[in-house]
């Protein structure tokens, strides 16, 4: 992708542009990694049972057992 052709000069300094572009540059890589990870998890799950995580790394958006 030729990023430079897509850019126009801006009158003020905005670090947001760089944050935007690096995400775009990584998009393919990260998306691919997710796909690989999903399959890898499935393979690993066949071989071992999940270890209970540390308290702080539990999913904070999980509904607590007592409410489920």
């Amino acid at each position: 992708m030729h990023i430079h052709f897509l850019l126009k000069p801006l009158t003020y300094l905005d670090p947001g542009t760089g944050s935007f572009i690096i995400q775009m540059l990584m998009a393919g890589l990260l998306g691919g990694a997710v796909a690989v990870r999903i399959y890898w998890k499935k393979i690993v799950a066949w071989f071992k049972r999940k270890k209970p995580g540390e308290f702080e790394d539990a999913d904070p958006t999980a509904i607590p057992d007592e409410l489920d």
């Binding site: 944050s19 775009m24 990584m26 998009a27 990260l30 509904i63």
Partner: protein, 461 residues
């Protein structure tokens, strides 16, 4: 009379305001579609049931201070103490970071995205990190990158990485930089070995480079053919999550965490001290207590275990970390450990000095605990006893304070490296000074030691 909360001005979607002592949020018409999606998609229900986000109730829209903009007015569950990232220990900032990412991921399942990733949108309530900003969500548009990426890196990833790879005290950079640590600064401060960590290489070092390179240029979004599809967005969030999870702070022994094992009073004196404090608390029945110089929270728990909301401040991040670990392990809800240097407490910060409140502005509370603290302030920091009394007086109505005489080994230790220029530091000098700000209600010698505990009430004298 309604008054907008001064810190609440950045987001055009709405703002917080106070009306008759209650905090409300006006939600503007411009945010209507997003708000309705939050409420109707099941995301709100999911996050509030999980305890990940603060709940609210919709109230009469006539309360809105700016009616022509208003869509709704809501009353969020009140939070009794607002704390800031520069007051959190490493574990607390890490928990808040993981909460933010988990909510961002969960939102996608409900067709929304998290548009803000400010550390100030997270608060500690009932022993856990909770998102307090109801307006942080927007309807997800396939192909868009994560708007909050830069903010997440500045508010969470940069300070966490600096704390692990440089020094835990660098959390204080958050106090100087109101919108998180600039990534070029983080990149310059981090050691080179962090360039060999994929997450830190991309999200901090390359991110900073990219910002510098494209600063001053505007993206023509329509011309970009590559889209950040949903899978890529999930990949970005998971990559950030893996990076944050891989960051674990080394415990540094700072000399304070062994404090209880390393002093001269016996187990009996320790128990006697606890009994006196408990009796004082039972007499004044406070709802809210600040324990100043709380160390790992041993005495704070005399209050919090009785259901009293307690904030346990200490200067030492190591002690605060131990306290925090105990909160998590025992799932304690009434105690909040925080890092605070009382000789230089958190100031008012930000726009108009009003975006972040000073410690004193967040008080006063019902009672202050100042145990084995005054000698540090008086002798190690040269603060006159009357000034100490006046400082505590600003913070709380009642004071439970311990006087530690010069003959005590802790004070002797403070005096070994310096000249004794403190002739007034005696029990009678202490009482004379404090009686100018307080009335002494009760005093009890700690059996088995030379220390004395006082219960005082402010405003008399």
């Amino acid at each position: 009379m309604s008054k907008r909360i001064a810190a609440s001005f950045r987001d055009p979607s709405g703002f917080m305001f106070e009306h008759k002592g209650v905090i409300y949020r006006q939600i503007n018409k411009s945010y209507q579609a997003d708000y309705d999606t939050l409420m109707e998609s099941g995301l709100y229900e999911r996050l509030t049931r999980a305890g990940a986000m603060i709940a609210h109730e919709e109230v009469d829209a006539a309360l809105a201070p700016i009616p022509k903009l208003a869509y709704k007015v809501v009353k969020p569950d009140p939070i009794d103490f607002i704390s800031y990232p520069y007051e959190w220990c490493f574990g607390q900032l890490r928990e808040a970071a993981l909460l933010t990412l988990a909510i961002a991921k969960r939102s996608l399942e409900f067709g929304m995205s998290l548009k803000d990733a400010s550390a100030y949108n997270v608060q500690y309530f009932n022993g856990r990190a909770v998102l307090i900003d109801t307006l942080s969500f927007e309807i997800y548009r396939e192909g868009e990158p994560w708007t909050a990426y830069r903010q997440f890196c500045q508010h969470f990833l940069a300070p966490l990485a600096l704390m692990v790879y440089r020094d835990v005290r660098l959390s204080q950079l958050m106090r100087v930089n109101i919108d998180g640590i600039p990534l070029d600064l983080a990149s310059a401060l981090l050691p080179n070995k962090t360039r060999f960590r994929f997450g830190l290489l991309t999200h901090i070092h390359m991110h900073a480079k990219s910002q510098k390179r494209y600063a001053g240029q505007m993206v023509d979004k329509d011309a970009i053919k590559v889209k950040m599809n949903r899978m890529a967005l999930i990949g970005l969030l998971e990559s950030l999550e893996t990076t944050v999870k891989s960051l674990k702070a080394k415990m540094v022994n700072t000399g304070w965490t062994d404090y209880y094992q390393d002093n001269n009073y016996s187990e009996d004196a320790f128990q006697a001290k606890k009994q006196v404090i408990s009796a004082f608390l039972a007499r004044i029945k406070p709802n809210f207590v600040w324990d100043l110089g709380a160390n790992t929270g041993e005495f704070s728990r005399l209050a919090s275990d009785q259901g009293i909301r307690t904030v346990a401040f200490d200067i030492d991040p190591g002690a605060v970390t131990q306290n925090y670990k105990q909160v998590k392990a025992k799932r304690e809800k009434n105690i909040l450990p925080l890092v605070m240097d009382l000789t230089n407490p958190s100031p008012s910060l930000g726009w108009h000095h009003q975006e972040r409140s000073s410690l004193a502005a967040r008080g006063p509370v019902d009672a202050i605990l100042a145990l084995a603290l005054a000698h540090h302030l008086a002798i190690a920091n040269n603060v006159p006893l009357l000034d100490i009394a006046n400082f505590f007086k600003d913070l709380g109505s009642y004071l439970i304070i311990e006087f530690v005489p010069k003959t005590d080994s802790q004070v002797k230790r403070l005096l070994t490296t310096r000249e004794d220029i403190f002739p007034d530091y005696t029990q009678s000098g202490f009482e004379t000074a404090f009686c100018q700000a307080y009335k002494i209600l009760e005093s009890k010698a700690v059996v088995g030691s030379e220390r004395v505990l006082y219960l005082m009430e402010r405003g008399i004298g």
